[in-house]
Symmetry: C2
Subunit: 643 residues, 2 copies
């Protein structure tokens, strides 16, 4: 046995023992040390970097580590094996594409505008913003020696009378609080209740008469790469807290397939579930509640939107059948989950609504997103695109809707890109390159003067578009001009330096490589070919698309002109393309706030047909043709010109 | 700070630190070291013995420790204070009146006879033995690429069709098991379901098609002193497991008042709840399941019968209001509790039925007991007596029923008796004393040749009756004959040695002292005076009582003749007095097995009036008059003669 020490930038360390020949990444996983491995240890992503600081480590050299870096001690954990005692430094930045928990500043109108818009959209469509939770005040006779009715019966009777109902349920949580609250408040209390369709009343909580009761709700978008959450006031729709974070499951693989495989290993289901709930969602709830001074026990309902795999891994239910013929999920819709089942740190009786999946690869993120895209409410033909790790499309109108999914990979959220990151502080979200000097100028997310950290999705689109427009790369994404910012490594791989290290908040230059560009071209190609294939199957031409609604964590700074320039979106007039932000989250918000919106989502889901792209013989050809800038068939992009 | 070491007979030790002047019993409690203190630290019971084995301890001398014992190092923890580093030995036998967990041998017909009788009684009264749980077998189409319905919908649809119902609920527990069970069993499964009155179906579990499904139920009688449990087959009523154990709460006080007081201290509710659930009920479940090879997750319903305080402490609900005017419980009836709420290690969705309380001092043990006593089903006037730590009485017939409660203390179960123990292996359960030689002969519970350990309730009745009949003690319980077995300590307190230490499985002689006799006389006096007071209030004479049903953990060996001799039971013909065993447990069994029996119990509870004895001015006089053997008014006991 050899001693393996993982040291963190904070100075903390974790020690464990491993046998000769054990893989370092596996050792880290067993020891619960978080090392990113989006490719799940295939040496293809280059993210699982560690720095050898003591002892010895057997490591293969790969293209992801330069000679200089190797000299400095950098190794990929996935190609390193234990042959002696060893101590490695694990970079903090390794975690979830450098994405720490980020609690939104709600004083910024940008953060809440989308939810105001969601509410407006629902109301315009005639959907009431009402839900089944509310507060009711009841007053009871104070018990005496002649009136010795027990507490639960006293409250139940008062509620039955007040609400004119036959059935009132008090859960254990309320029973425990009841004796003290009744007496502290002289038998006049406020109850948070839900009235079911049949008139039965469920009591979630009991408060003293003077308490300022806010009925909290929690909306969570579980993306494969990014998890976003909201705490809302269920009566007004007001946003109480907002946060986002990398999905803690990332260290088990960047895509759903790798995560499913990991979940089938012993203890895997629990590990994957813990990674998203205990390491991601619960801390997010805690941060939001701390920032807003809200008691998490006052969150009485939760709505989750995520793709089908995320829903299964979140609920700890075997997801393996999703990836094996005939691809059967355990559930599309379910009302089986409560907060206490999943150990989510809110009120234990909080019901967890799950935005419905409609297929193994089109999930609740899309049905919730489709709800707020309003595609279902317009006579015009619209295309809804969710640029997630899985790219999903919905095309249709108020008469019909068709959906499909393609595997884009995490590039839109900064994954699989060497200097990629989520659209959060320090991300280059927009870029212009001077054709002559090849010098770039940027817009960076965050306060004025913040140093750039990396590139988010919208920034990558700009960079690739600009590089192409300036003739620095060719349609295949290979470098064809030279300059001080263009480099070639010893394997001949070109790259463009956006920010030299001295100007960056980074341990190395921020650059984009041919591998990055290739990854991104494949991502955008997957989307564009999916659009073409789905429309073709319906005998629609791209020009017949009236409006495009683009959603996803690519960043609100997305430049649609550049997205067309690189051949990612169809070449239609710019004013017809709308960025609607994280529609999965705003859809979850809508389902939480409005019972009618929740019902509408189920209706949308059941009316939507699903097209399996892999079953369409022409899809692969379309994909290959789309893996160019902008496309092999330039007539599809008449508006695209060079600088 | 001084170091305090608690050493156990097993050799294990627990160390902690205490400040000068801290009480040793309090230190033990804080450190979670179990030391019996039925009197809750008032130096009155003498149970909290520890042996000083190192260091120093400031201790008061009390009558509970002889000079010789003091010399050996024995101290009462409750009168000891820390003034230096100290190490004490905590006797294992201190725990819960020497009562370890005891799993019954079900091959003995005695162990199950009472439940057969309970079933027969219910059937004779026209009560169906049916409950709402059953197994249903469903077969589904195996999914294909053309039939991709998710698992939950597939099962739900099949059940709806099979059961002709509109609503089928699958809880989280079933959802997690579903994908694997369906596939392991080729989509033909067995489900354990409950059909509610409105036809809605709840699925508790899903099994493979060839599994041998037994629907388990758990009945628990939570006595103040003793907890008893049964695992049953919910379809046949068969007893799968049976066990009893001391209530782990005993170290926080012998009676309900001391426990309530303890529960109001910081963390007290949790400590009392843990003591009965984690330390008593869960280990009991584990033992029963291990002995019978039954999976505790296959227990889908639980019924609890206990007094009102026990019900509150069990559920972790503030019990303090039970002891303060106007004595209002949090609940009489409740359907708010599920196994997962209380962390009871059975199926998490198991509903916990609670036998209804009818007052702060007449609880579910009595309503459940009354059910199986069948008092409510007979035209004759019967008296039902439960000889628990609280003595409870029900008098009436099929037209009316009245109940009352009196505080008897734990003497009937061997508590507050120096050599007392529960009616389990090693207990002297019957005794005859030769008038001339004063030599005793015994019956001892357990295998032939087992050495006596102590005295259970029925044994104490016999001993006191025999001592009185032989003229060894007078009507006040004082020793009036001398002999080799009669002793007097230096305070003049007399005692009678039943078994010398060399013949006993005990660290000292098994004897009965005047203090023990006095404790028992007060217990029997409380019962008899309660009977007299209640009957008098109804203008009934004792001779009008047609039948007496005696229940409780006093032991099946109870000699009714001797119980009359000491003035505990009314002097009516012996054939009219029936011992019905632990009626709280058999009542819980009945409620578990039969939905009609459950309903009948609620009906019995709501039809029963409650009489508060303390509000009757003559009760105290009756009590004082009853604290003699047999009574101050010997005309009440015409059949009692001396040997």
């Amino acid at each position: 046995m050899f001693k393996v020490t993982f040291r963190f930038e904070s100075g903390e360390a974790v020690e464990t023992f491993a046998t000769s020949g054990e893989n370092l990444l596996e050792v880290a996983r067993k020891t619960n040390v978080a090392i990113d491995a989006p490719c799940s240890g295939n040496a293809s992503c280059g993210k699982c970097r560690v720095k050898l600081v003591g002892g010895e480590l057997e490591s293969k050299k790969t293209r992801h580590i330069t000679d200089e870096e190797y000299e400095q001690g950098w190794r990929l954990a996935c190609v390193s094996t234990i042959e002696a005692d060893v101590e490695v430094m694990v970079p903090d930045i390794a975690s979830a594409y450098r994405s720490r928990m980020k609690v939104a500043d709600l004083s910024s109108p940008d953060e809440v505008a989308i939810f105001e818009k969601t509410k407006q959209g629902l109301e315009d469509a005639g959907i009431s913003l009402h839900n089944s939770l509310r507060t009711v005040r009841v007053s009871m006779a104070v018990p005496t020696l002649d009136d010795t009715m027990p507490d639960n019966e006293r409250l139940t009777r008062a509620l039955k009378k007040e609400l004119n109902t036959e059935v009132v349920s008090l859960p254990y949580y309320v029973m425990r609080r009841l004796p003290d609250v009744l007496r502290a408040s002289n038998f006049e209390v406020q109850c948070v209740i839900r009235t079911a369709a049949n008139g039965h009343v469920f009591v979630y909580d009991v408060y003293e008469k003077d308490a300022d009761v806010v009925i909290g709700g929690l909306a969570v978008d579980i993306g494969t790469t990014t998890v976003s959450g909201l705490i809302i006031n269920m009566e007004t729709g007001e946003i109480i807290g907002k946060a986002s974070s990398g999905n803690g499951q990332i260290r088990y693989g960047a895509d759903v397939i790798n995560r499913i495989i990991e979940s089938t290993k012993p203890g895997g289901q629990e590990r994957l579930q813990d990674a998203v709930i205990q390491e991601t969602i619960n801390p997010m709830i805690e941060h939001m509640c701390r920032a807003s001074g809200f008691d998490p026990k006052h969150i009485y309902r939760m709505c989750v939107a995520g793709n089908t795999t995320m829903n299964h891994l979140f609920s700890g239910i075997n997801a393996d059948h999703l990836r094996m013929e005939p691809y059967i999920p355990a559930f599309f819709k379910t009302n089986s989950f409560f907060a206490s089942d999943l150990d989510i740190h809110i009120n234990p009786d909080a019901h967890i609504i799950v935005a419905p999946n409609i297929g193994s690869y089109v999930g609740g993120d899309i049905t919730a997103g489709t709800l707020v895209s309003m595609v279902w409410n317009r006579p015009e033909f619209s295309l809804f695109i969710d640029l997630g790790t899985n790219g999903e499309l919905v095309f249709g109108n108020s008469d019909f809707m068709m959906s499909c999914a393609c595997s884009a990979g995490p590039a839109f959220e900064g994954g699989d890109i060497s200097c990629g990151m989520r659209a959060t502080d320090g991300a280059i979200e927009a870029c212009v390159i001077d054709k002559d000097t090849m010098e770039p100028t940027f817009e960076i997310i965050g306060e004025a003067g913040v140093k750039p950290v990396g590139l988010c999705g919208s920034g990558i689109i700009d960079v690739i578009s600009e590089l192409y427009q300036c003739g620095i790369i060719n349609p295949k994404g290979k470098f064809i001009r030279e300059g001080k910012r263009v480099r070639h490594d010893k394997y001949g791989m070109g790259s463009y330096v956006l920010v030299f290290q001295e100007d960056a908040d980074s341990v190395k230059d921020i650059e984009i490589t041919e591998v990055d560009i290739d990854n991104f071209i494949r991502a955008k190609g997957a989307i564009f070919s999916a659009i073409r294939t789905m429309l073709a199957s319906l005998d629609f031409d791209i020009t017949m698309v009236e409006d495009i609604y683009v959603a996803g964590g690519i960043g609100s700074g997305i430049n649609m002109r550049n997205a067309i320039n690189i051949g990612m979106l169809p070449d239609i007039p710019l004013e017809k393309i709308h960025y609607i932000g994280n529609s999965s989250l705003s859809g979850a918000y809508a389902m939480l706030l409005s019972t009618e919106a929740e019902k509408k989502t189920y209706e949308v889901a059941s009316n939507m047909t699903y097209m399996e792209l892999s079953a369409v013989p022409t899809y692969m050809d379309e994909f290959v043709a789309s893996c160019f800038i902008p496309h092999t068939d330039n007539t599809l992009f008449p508006s695209v010109t060079l600088k």
